[in-house]
Subunit: 121 residues, 2 copies
């Protein structure tokens, strides 16, 4: 499974959220701040098809697109890659890093604690 680029990821997000969709529908749903034209979205869709990240089925003279990989798997791969590179493959240093940067609120801390507690049972 080939690598998905940043811009392509925005298209995947749309389809993970709702599918199948036509190219035009995808274009409507892509975040506005991208400022993409319809041709741009079509290019993304073609490339994602070529990469095997999307599948399409014929619907008259159009295609309906849907994800061919699970968001869960993609997220696991990407976050695993980052954690391997920057935190020696372990989650704890990442949490420590966030904590040191004051990016953890007391509510976050409570939430994570609850989650871990759940895990142990």
């Amino acid at each position: 499974m080939e690598r998905i680029a940043e811009g392509e990821y925005a298209v995947m997000e749309v389809l993970w959220d709702e599918s199948p969709l036509t190219a035009a529908e995808v274009a409507e749903r892509v975040p506005l701040d991208r400022g993409w034209s319809l041709p741009t979205v079509k290019t993304m869709l073609s490339r994602l098809l070529a990469k095997g990240a999307l599948a399409h089925e014929q619907d008259g003279r159009r295609y309906l697109y849907r994800p061919a990989i699970r968001r869960e798997d993609y997220v696991a791969e990407e976050s695993g890659r980052l954690i391997d590179r920057m935190f020696g493959g372990r989650l704890t240093p990442l949490v420590a890093h966030f904590a040191a940067r004051d990016r953890l609120t007391p509510a976050d801390i409570a939430e994570i604690e609850a989650l871990l507690k759940e895990l142990k049972s």
Copy 2:
């Protein structure tokens, strides 16, 4: 501060670990599995200089290179970016994701719990 590419990051890691170094010394220390020639390493160094990620000082007819940005800051930016994109900017879902994928050992859990406990005091 411009974006650092994946390959360039490998060079940064070397210099974060030890600096200042000459180009040849960096090349020696880059992970072998990259299989880079000396010219390749020099290209990386030039680009990182141009991006402002490295600084250099003259040493006779050579340069000594050293980081111009802190690893800590770079890591914060990159991991923040990923967490924003994939986990809505919050750490908890990432932890949950790791847990769901069985990437957390009991030892990890204990470690994170200790860390959080520390934070609260």
